[in-house]
């Protein structure tokens, strides 16, 4: 009896003293949409990381004797028109998608925040930076990515670069708008009055408070990047075949839609799971991290 009372008490105290970050993480773990998204995304991400261990056949090994084997006995996902194992190709394709998605997100995190913070904080360069930003955002996203990769030459690295160029302005704009609001807040003014330097004000006072919308944006961006990469390689301007990517597997499957529709549907479903998982994740993060939206609901 007294034990139970003590434990309730201890819990009450623990809750009161809980670190805000831990409270947020707890809320995230209780958020159904976020958890669904996390599980979907992790399925793909873990598969991608484990690619060398869970595939036994080289994704590019031809075996004409075994072409167009339907999914099932011996071939989990079946084979394509060259008798290559679709399981191997889709799993290695997942690795490439994750690599490209993560790289584009990393590029955006660094340069989006840098450019956005500079534009929002130093009003003198704001106009110039934002005009360039506006111009880059005026191009239809996929068209600009196609044009840049085609000019630089198709390769995984150039796809990452092209998607970076397309999406960094969008991230920078979000960072900038948070920074502009925060810069005028009293606690920042107080820091200025206390004699803090620009660097300290930005990194200690402004940016930590501007992170919520950026994190939400980056999770959606991961989805866009994976989707755009698949689109580019579907159109033939992504990573060079025979490197398997979800896009180029589907593109090759177009000629055999009647006899082997699984060549299209399997990587397509993998792509959909990834994008949907990341969208759920982003929605969940927005619910939990963005207090403004939380009040509205």
């Amino acid at each position: 009896m007294s034990d139970a009372a003590a434990s309730i008490d201890a819990e009450g105290i623990a809750l009161k003293r809980e670190h805000p970050a831990r409270a947020t993480i707890k809320r995230l773990f209780r958020h159904r949409l976020f958890m669904t998204g996390l599980v979907l995304f992790l399925i793909i991400a873990v598969t991608a990381i484990l690619a060398p261990w869970i595939t036994d056949v080289d994704p590019n090994r031809l075996s004409m004797r075994n072409k167009f084997k339907p999914p099932g006995e011996g071939w989990i996902f079946g084979t394509d028109s060259f008798g290559r194992s679709l399981w191997s190709r889709v799993v290695w394709g997942a690795q490439l998608s994750m690599l490209i998605g993560a790289s584009v997100v990393a590029l955006n995190a660094v340069f989006g925040i840098l450019i956005g913070a500079a534009a929002g904080y130093f009003r003198r360069i704001d106009n110039l930076l934002m005009r360039i930003n506006d111009a880059l955002m005026a191009f239809p996203a996929i068209l600009l990515a196609i044009a840049v990769t085609s000019v630089l030459g198709p390769s995984t690295f150039n796809v990452i670069l092209a998607l970076g160029i397309v999406y960094i302005p969008r991230t920078a704009r979000i960072v900038r708008s948070s920074v502009i609001v925060l810069r005028e807040m009293e606690f920042v003014q107080a820091a200025v009055a206390a004699g803090a330097g620009h660097w300290r004000i930005l990194t200690r006072h402004i940016l930590p408070n501007a992170m919520a919308p950026v994190i939400v944006q980056l999770s959606f961006l991961f989805a866009f990047a994976v989707l755009s990469e698949a689109t580019l390689s579907f159109l033939g301007v992504g990573a060079v075949p025979p490197t398997p990517t979800w896009g180029n597997i589907m593109s090759e499957g177009r000629d055999f839609m009647r006899e082997a529709p699984w060549i299209i549907t399997i990587p397509g479903i993998a792509l959909m799971i990834t994008v949907m998982g990341l969208n759920f994740l982003g929605d969940g993060l927005r619910d939990v991290l963005d207090p403004r939206l939380r009040i509205q609901q």
Binding site: R131, I132, D134, A135, L136, A138, F139, P140, A141, I142, L143, L144, I146, A147, V148, S150, V151, L152, G153, A223, L227, A230, T231, F234, L235, G236, V237, M250, R254, M257, R258, P261, I264, T265, G268, L271, M272, V275, M276, N279, F280, Q296
Partner: protein
């Protein structure tokens, strides 16, 4: 009002200037010798030299830039190497297909997106709302080329109801046009429809909570009139703001959809240009499409100021 429109128009000029500079710079990004890259591996040195002179790549960059802007001001967007005609002419030839497809998709987007958003908002937190939002999420998450491929497999290959590709101009045969563009338009519209359904739903929910809606109900107006006349008018405002974005997404998506369904539009023209290293076409086409989008966005902003008086006084 005229002042607002004028100010918005003027603000598009620096954006267009930078857009044109980026398009110009794009061809100079080609690693190594651009002329050799464009000519391809089988070209002789003499051919490369000829191409360099034709494209003006032998001049200093400043002079190239000058000629570039001289051309643009006279409506000369460069010349396609593959088609042997002006970029503007080639684009104009293909544009009707893309505009037709995009308009069709836009109509579908608005119909599906706005109605399902309103219904979901009116039935908030019921199964109707949840199913509608699930479908919207699915629409956002399914890549449009995958949806297109699925529809081809199902409706064209297996059932044989619709053609898997090809294009029949509207002027020639309206029914044929509908048959050849329905699948592309649906696959193109679903993403935007999903986004719009979510925006409409949250806009509608916000408006329904307003005092004036309660007043309208309290004074005994029929629910239909409250929703359609009082609530919807204000819920439409955020929808108008995203129309510019939707049109941009539609044009982006059309590139892939046209390639998939072999529709001879702008998107197909540009994809072919990219694949055959027709860089002048890529550069000019990109600039044209983007200019078109900038103009559309200016018009949307002006429309926005027209329907929402608050914007005018900012």
């Amino acid at each position: 009002m005229i002042l607002v429109a004028l100010r918005r128009l003027l603000s598009a000029i620096p954006v267009l200037f930078i857009v044109s500079l980026i398009s110009f710079g794009l061809m100079r990004l080609i690693p190594g010798d651009p002329a050799a890259a464009i000519a391809g591996t089988s070209a002789t040195p003499a051919q490369i030299e000829q191409l360099r002179r034709d494209l003006g790549l032998d001049e200093p960059v400043i002079l190239q830039l000058l000629h570039y802007y001289q051309g643009l001001l006279q409506g000369d967007f460069g010349k396609s190497l593959l088609l042997g005609k002006g970029v503007l002419a080639a684009t104009m030839e293909r544009l009707p297909v893309t505009i037709g497809l995009s308009l069709y998709a836009l109509v579908l987007t608005l119909l599906i997106g706005v109605t399902s958003g309103i219904i979901a908002a009116l039935r908030q937190n019921t199964w109707v709302d949840q199913v509608a939002m699930m479908i919207a999420m699915l629409g956002i998450s399914i890549p449009n080329f995958f949806l297109g491929l699925l529809m081809i497999i199902f409706f064209a290959v297996q059932l044989g109801w619709l053609p898997s590709g090809g294009y029949i101009p509207f002027s020639q045969d309206p029914i044929g046009w509908l048959r050849s563009t329905t699948m592309p338009a649906i696959s193109l519209a679903l993403l935007q429809a999903g986004l719009l359904a979510r925006i409409t739903r949250s806009g509608m929910l916000e408006v329904l909570r307003q005092d004036y809606v309660r007043t309208a109900r309290a004074k005994g107006l029929p629910e239909r009139q409250v929703i359609l006349k009082h609530a919807l008018a204000n819920a439409l405002i955020p929808i108008v703001t995203v129309i510019g974005i939707i049109i941009s997404l539609l044009l982006s998506g059309a590139v892939v959809t046209e390639a998939l369904f072999s529709l001879p539009g702008m998107g197909q023209l540009l994809t072919q240009a990219v694949l055959s290293r027709d860089y002048p076409m890529v550069q000019g086409g990109l600039l044209l499409v983007t200019t078109f989008l900038v103009v559309v966005n200016v018009l949307v902003d002006i429309l926005y100021a027209l329907i929402d008086p608050r914007v005018r006084y900012e």
